[in-house]
């Protein structure tokens, strides 16, 4: 095993991450206005930006799903119990004792087990909930004639809201975790440059050196 600086976040993944971050912020800002928590933007403008922001995010996600499935990147998110307890123990105890993070990033496993589970939950639970409820909300007039449509709308709206609170809680923890380890900027850099320190097997290193040399930076 060699530790190399490898480009493990391809350009699309970074584009996806940052445009998604921007859209989530837009949706958070306009959504809280729609909910009546602030009046920094007129309601009509908030409706417009929230709707377009949501539609763009849905489109982005359709592309992202396609990308995950076709490139095999979905495999990074397969949940694994292997090492999970050690990571949990690190964040709960080890980090306070100055221990090193127990997880070494691998070429096909760039997230630690806790991270993978958290991202997977976000992708397969929270995002679908907020989308499905959002689309149901947006298309209310197509189903307004079902019995108790008003009550259903309220349920849909509350689920949407709850999912939004959960996503914002996720973002809070997500950003906080960037401060653990060496430094905030060190955690941030891979999602900008694409390069991160990864343990490569001999076969992986040999493959990259011969077929995709631009993804390898010299070891530090």
């Amino acid at each position: 095993m060699t530790e190399r600086l490898v480009k493990i976040y391809p350009r699309f993944e970074r584009f996806w991450h940052w445009s998604q971050a921007l859209l989530i912020f837009t949706l958070f800002f306009t959504g809280t206005a729609l909910h009546g928590l602030h009046a920094l933007i007129p309601f009509g403008a908030a409706v417009t930006f929230h709707t377009f922001g949501a539609l763009l995010l849905v489109v982005l996600w359709i592309f992202a799903i396609f990308w995950h499935l076709t490139t095999g990147h979905w495999r990074h998110y397969v949940p694994s119990a292997d090492g999970l307890l050690r990571v949990i123990r690190f964040y709960a105890i080890g980090i306070f004792k100055g221990e090193h993070h127990p997880y070494r990033k691998a070429y096909w496993r760039k997230h630690n087990p806790l991270q993978a589970i958290a991202y997977l939950a976000l992708k397969v639970v929270l995002f679908p909930v907020i989308w499905i409820t959002g689309i149901a909300y947006l298309t209310y007039n197509f189903w307004e004639h079902v019995p108790d449509a008003g009550l259903w709308l309220e349920i849909v709206a509350n689920l949407h809201l709850l999912a939004a609170y959960a996503i914002i809680s996720f973002v809070t923890i997500h950003v906080y975790l960037l401060t653990t380890g060496h430094s905030f900027s060190e955690h941030l850099r891979p999602m900008i440059s694409g390069y991160d320190v990864v343990d490569l097997s001999q076969a992986e290193e040999a493959y990259l050196a011969s077929d995709e040399p631009e993804r390898l930076q010299r070891a530090e």
Binding site: P10, R11, F12, F15, A33, L34, H35, G36, L37, A39, P42, F43, G44, V47, T48, T51, F52, L55, L56, V59, L60, I62, F63, F66, W67, T70, T71, G72, Y91, I95, F96, K97, G98, Y140, N141, E144, G150, L153, E154, A157, N158, L159, L161, L162, A164, Y165, A166, I168, S169, F170, T172, I173, Y176, T179, T180, Y207, D211, E212
Partner: protein
């Protein structure tokens, strides 16, 4: 696996995906922007050219001594006209509600203004579309020539009824003190000239009665006043000379002298053929309902923006009037907002008096107290009261039991968010305090007008006699004991539509303490409501923040410690 990663991880793949993403985003934006603006405009004010010139009619080339003589001449050609008028509510003042079955009409109901017609006939029936209805119980006159054709069809602008003469017009010698139903000095009318001038009713015709309901300019409705004779666009975008310049009958279409539009059975939707289909019709095109939707359809907002689409989504639950009539009693003419009858009857030196405590926008001083009528409050540019309303108004009549401990609703406007026919509608909510039978707990009728009687309140200032006379005239049971109750009366607002740029904005309602803050029982975003999802959500978010802060603090502490 590596091959795939290479294929899709490379620069070209990124470019293709990003491009396709942008293209799809553009398509999405385009989809939202289909369908063009719907424009409804038209000029319905000009009198269409008639095939008849009434100045040439032999039957009219004579001197007329009275209104009925003119009507007889009209009927010599328009043989069916009186039959048509005499079966309309303009004539009968009687209305059997097709949904609630309640018997309504001016001859039946009690209001919080002058109260009731019975026993006050010559004053109230001065606005009857006929001549000489002096006894409510006896019903309107039977003689076809008692129909007043000219009040609706005169185009000289000089024809007007005397305020206290049961519908009769000023002819011959007219007392200097006599007033018309609009409060102007009564002048003798040239009936021959009026008869030769006839045309389709203009706003001057309808307005003489309908702008002065409740005994004065805009007193009753709030959205019908003399400001509509020549309104600015701000006052009424449909009737403004520089707007659509429409007459009343452009919307209140008629068939055989029966008019569309009712305050008892209010229509929000279009008629059968247009309902729910967003169908719209041009001014003058055949329609049977005087509603916004019958011209504008159910999707009147341009679907070229998210906001336009969302506004169209509102039309089934929010009446057009709610956003498009942000205020009523515009144009400098105030409406009476409160009438307290209980303070009436105070005299100074044994004489009735009045106080003028309100100056309205056009500079006129208005009474705020009259010995005859009690205390008033007035309002201009009034923000409406909003309620869910399914269109059917139920009246509290003289035989219905009331609860004097609560504010009595003289009329009720049932509706709830759970009723698919109900929409949020604007109202003038009239605040009243009026007499009731304190033993039977019923609203009472009273005799207020009658200069020569010893029962009329305005002459004798004696409630006991006035109520007894009113109840007797109406044939209603009365215990002889009375008191005063607080009342509300609701007047649906539907006129004085503002130009589109003055319509309410989203935030007018979708905000904490917005215009609909008083309405509950349904989901509506933007009001800052604190629901179950908020409670759960905020616990979750606070837990996350607390966890993060605690974790960070522990890290700092342990690093320093080590």
């Amino acid at each position: 696996m590596f091959e795939k990663a290479k294929l899709f991880g490379g620069r070209k793949a990124f470019g293709a995906i990003a491009l396709a993403f942008c293209a799809l985003a553009a398509v999405t934006a385009g989809l939202v922007g289909i369908a063009g603006a719907q424009d409804v405009s038209g000029n319905a004010a000009a009198q269409p050219a008639s095939t008849a010139n009434h100045e040439l009619f032999e039957a009219l080339k004579r001197r007329f001594e009275s209104g009925p003589e003119v009507t007889a001449a009209c009927l010599s050609c328009h043989t069916e006209a009186s039959k048509q008028v005499m079966s309309s509510i303009h004539w009968t003042w009687s209305y059997e509600h097709p949904v609630t079955g309640q018997k309504l009409g001016k001859s039946e109901v009690i209001n919080s203004f002058c109260g009731n017609v019975a026993s006050n006939e010559p004053r109230c029936t001065s606005c009857h579309a006929g001549y000489g209805w002096t006894d409510m119980k006896a019903g309107p006159p039977k003689d076809p020539s008692a129909v007043d054709c000219l009040i609706c069809h005169d185009q000289t602008g000089k024809y007007s009824k005397i305020a206290t003469a049961a519908g009769h017009v000023a002819v011959g010698e007219v007392s200097a003190k006599a007033k018309t139903i609009t409060g102007a000095s009564a002048e003798p009318v040239d009936l021959s000239k009026a008869a030769m001038s006839v045309g389709l009713p203009g706003r001057e015709n309808c307005g003489q009665c309908h702008f002065y309901g409740g005994g004065g300019d805009n007193v009753k409705h709030g959205d019908l006043s003399s400001a509509l004779f020549d309104p600015s666009r701000h006052v009424d975008v449909h009737m403004a000379g520089d707007g659509a310049n429409m007459t009343c009958s452009a919307c209140h279409v008629s068939e055989s002298h029966h008019w569309a539009g009712s305050r008892y059975n209010v229509n929000a939707a279009g008629d059968e053929t247009s309902r729910g289909h967003g169908m719209q019709r041009k001014p003058g095109e055949r329609r049977d309902v005087a509603s916004c939707e019958s011209c504008h359809g159910a999707t009147p907002h341009p679907a070229t923006s998210v906001v336009g689409i969302k506004l169209n989504d509102h039309t089934d639950r929010v009446a057009c009037q709610t956003c498009h009539i942000p205020e009523f009693a515009k144009g400098g003419i105030a409406t009476k907002t409160k009438w307290d009858w209980s303070t009436a009857g105070k005299l100074r030196d044994g004489k009735p008096y009045g106080e003028e405590g309100y100056t309205q926008g056009d500079g006129r001083e208005l009474h705020t107290y009259l010995s005859t009528k009690g205390d008033f409050a007035w309002g201009e540019d009034v923000t409406p009261y909003y309620a869910w309303f399914a269109g059917q108004v139920i009246y509290t009549k003289a035989e219905d039991t009331i609860d004097p401990a609560a504010v009595v609703e003289v009329n009720r406007i049932p509706g709830s968010p759970d009723d698919p026919n109900a929409r949020i509608w604007p109202f003038k909510r009239m605040v009243g305090r009026q007499a009731y039978d304190s033993k039977l707990n019923r609203l009472v009728m009273s005799n207020v007008f009658g200069p020569d009687t010893d029962t009329a309140f305005w002459t004798n200032f004696d409630w006991a006699k006035a109520i007894a006379a009113g109840m007797k005239a109406a044939g209603k049971e009365y215990s002889g004991e009375f008191g005063f109750v607080d009342t509300y009366m609701y007047w649906p607002i539907t006129h004085m539509v503002a130009p589109r740029e003055e319509a309410l904005k989203c935030d007018s309602c979708h905000a904490p303490q917005g215009r609909l803050a008083g309405l509950g029982g349904f989901y509506m975003p933007g009001r800052g409501d604190w629901g179950i999802a908020d409670k759960l959500g905020i616990v979750m978010l606070l837990a996350a923040i607390a966890g993060v802060l605690g974790h960070a603090a522990l890290r700092l502490f342990s690093k320093r410690g080590s």
